[in-house]
Symmetry: D2
Subunit: 114 residues, 4 copies
Amino acid sequence: MPTDAQNACFEAGIKFGSLYHQFAGTPVSPESADSLARAIEESIANQPYCEAVRVTIRRDELEAALEDATADYTELTGRFLDVEMDIEYEGTAVQTKMEMEDGYPLMKLVSVEE
Amino acid sequence: MPTDAQNACFEAGIKFGSLYHQFAGTPVSPESADSLARAIEESIANQPYCEAVRVTIRRDELEAALEDATADYTELTGRFLDVEMDIEYEGTAVQTKMEMEDGYPLMKLVSVEE
Amino acid sequence: MPTDAQNACFEAGIKFGSLYHQFAGTPVSPESADSLARAIEESIANQPYCEAVRVTIRRDELEAALEDATADYTELTGRFLDVEMDIEYEGTAVQTKMEMEDGYPLMKLVSVEE
Amino acid sequence: MPTDAQNACFEAGIKFGSLYHQFAGTPVSPESADSLARAIEESIANQPYCEAVRVTIRRDELEAALEDATADYTELTGRFLDVEMDIEYEGTAVQTKMEMEDGYPLMKLVSVEE
């Protein structure tokens, strides 16, 4: 049988996969970044065992991406996202975050406390 | 060659298909409905020729769907959405809306003014 | 530091959240169910540590859902999906599955072998 | 009242927005490109008034994108997609296509025949 800590980590992973694949591709600009970040936080926080979600959409990266572009918006992708999430499952607390590494959005367990 | 009015209607359709398939499936509850509605409006308004987007997520339908449920959230689908959009393309103004008909979210041209 | 088994479970969760939120909402009919199931399997199998993905789209449920409908397709949701996935991470093998419980698609760890 | 030709163009736009925002972000590699292309074609062809959908996922672009990457897959985006679609609505035939222009996936009406 999987342990509570293992289930807690599984649940944390579900939230990250959900967040990324629900919202990747959304049209986003520096002006609309804040409302999108709030909606991502509040929608994912609905999922079971999710204690907190903190999303920042990186304006500096957005502005850099749009500098030479013909349009004034782009598609949301990992490059523009900083995410931290706290999961709690049957007494186990899991902290996670997403950050870019080698051009990929890497999702990571930061700590697991039983 | 397609006319400006035809291109305006094509652009209107693109926005509707984008809106629906980007956001359908998002976890939503009565508490998180407003932030999601704002994010949908602001993200789709980034797209070219889009003058206005008005999204309402229907709390009454959400509450009805959750009444007998074991969870306190559900997935966003057409049943919970009212959408109106105004498109302007080279002088043609198009008004559109989405409403439920026979259990399907029906997207419609309301008016096309050249 | 998270253990290898905990990371394996986290990775398993990511795949499930990705699968569900990437493909939920896709138009599907009994005729197009097989090509969609294959594409889901092959796309998710690209993700790191994913050894196997088996997806069945349930024709019986699809046909039941369409029986009284005016259209001949519907949107993919958990009700129509059976999924099993095998993850392997640094020597830990994780088996997972998704099944409906109380009207929700429940994602579960089946076994974790270190 | 919108004309049949205008409604045909609106319907064509819906299919394009749906296709793009349903499938953008899907993990894709040269090996899984064909099954994804088939699933996109068959799922979008379910939508009303859609006569034909032809999707090519560009292996050359995929291979170029992966050449210097640490992973062997990437996320589906407009850069990798060629799409053509035929719509028929009340006697009006509409041909459309998507192609990259200035780094953006541009969706276009090719012809409208009443």
